[in-house]
Symmetry: C2
Subunit: 164 residues, 2 copies
DNA sequence: CAGGTCGAGTTGAATGTTCAAGTCGCCCGG
DNA sequence: CCGGGCGACTTGAACATTCAACTCGACCTG
């Protein structure tokens, strides 16, 4: 990768400065998600995606969403969501019901137990977010990080940008 | 999560501004890695972690590293590395050899074929990094992103900060 | 030098994610 | 009203990662 004898001549390589920043970002992508995940799993038995599904449902007006919409908001494939909701349903935190008269649509509901679970899990999660991210950066740094993240997400998965 | 009737009173909640930035970062963590991974897998059949293992080996002076050191540089657990190197060895891109006279240490070598594979995979990967990240941000934005990433990584996994 | 223990690495089972079908309602053209 | 196609979801198999043993060599310590 840093080899001077690079095979493909027509590729715009990264400058040294760009390379450093990219490697820093890569390190962030490799280390932060596992750390967040570990805390949630340890203290609540939820993984990050399941947690976000519960959050998404809790934030919607009537505490339910069609699976397709939920997949977009929670930022995962429909398949991943289906498996995850299966687990959450097993645990009694979510229920599924067909939307009557609307094709094959299914809505996922957050149950009372699910809401309780979320309220139980949230404080520890927020504490960890504070400890690892929000509390480490100045407001300006955090704002710059968020702005850059939005730009990249918009390039990568425009559909997600709407829900920010 | 946004519920005003929050159960744990002693947790410092996030401000609205902090929440927006955190959600943007979260969206980045959920969307960018799959995008990077998809490109690598499509065009080279490697996943991100395997690619990083090859890069780490290619950047070390003699193109080999002990497994433990490799795990730190490539930023994964030893177990994950062992499985990954198993796959890379199957493909003929890496070989393993015991370090003689040094405990139970094992060094992983990058083969010629492995080097060729990496040189084949790198251009497409770099193009994608340009397309989704480096090319979207101003130099200042990129620098700010990198700096914030380093701060967070340092809080999360200090051992990784050395190799940036 | 016997026994303990620690660091390095491997292994296999359990879990989660992805990928490629497959199912099932609805709608639309004939 | 029938048949094909489409959108929404589910399912199961393949694959990767994690987690908890387990192996093995080196180094103490008595």
């Amino acid at each position: 990768m840093t080899s001077p004898t690079e095979a493909a001549e027509d590729v715009a390589w990264l400058s040294d400065a760009q390379l450093v920043e990219w490697k820093s970002l890569m390190a962030l992508l490799m280390t932060l998600p596992p750390a967040i995940d570990a805390q949630l799993k340890r203290e609540s038995g939820l993984n990050t995606f399941e947690y976000h599904v519960l959050v998404a449902l809790s934030e919607s007006p009537e505490r339910w969403l069609p699976m397709s919409d939920l997949a977009v908001v929670a930022q995962g494939s429909l398949s991943r969501l289906s498996h995850a909701v299966g687990r959450l349903e097993q645990a009694g935190w979510v229920t599924r019901r067909a939307c009557p008269g609307a094709g094959r649509r299914v809505k996922a509901h957050l149950t009372e137990a699910g809401m309780a679970k979320l309220e139980d899990a949230a404080p520890g999660h927020v504490r960890e977010v504070q400890r690892l991210v929000v509390g480490r950066l100045t407001p300006e740094q955090l704002a710059a990080l968020g702005e850059a993240a939005r730009v990249i997400v918009d390039a990568t998965e425009p559909r997600c940008t709407e829900h920010l």
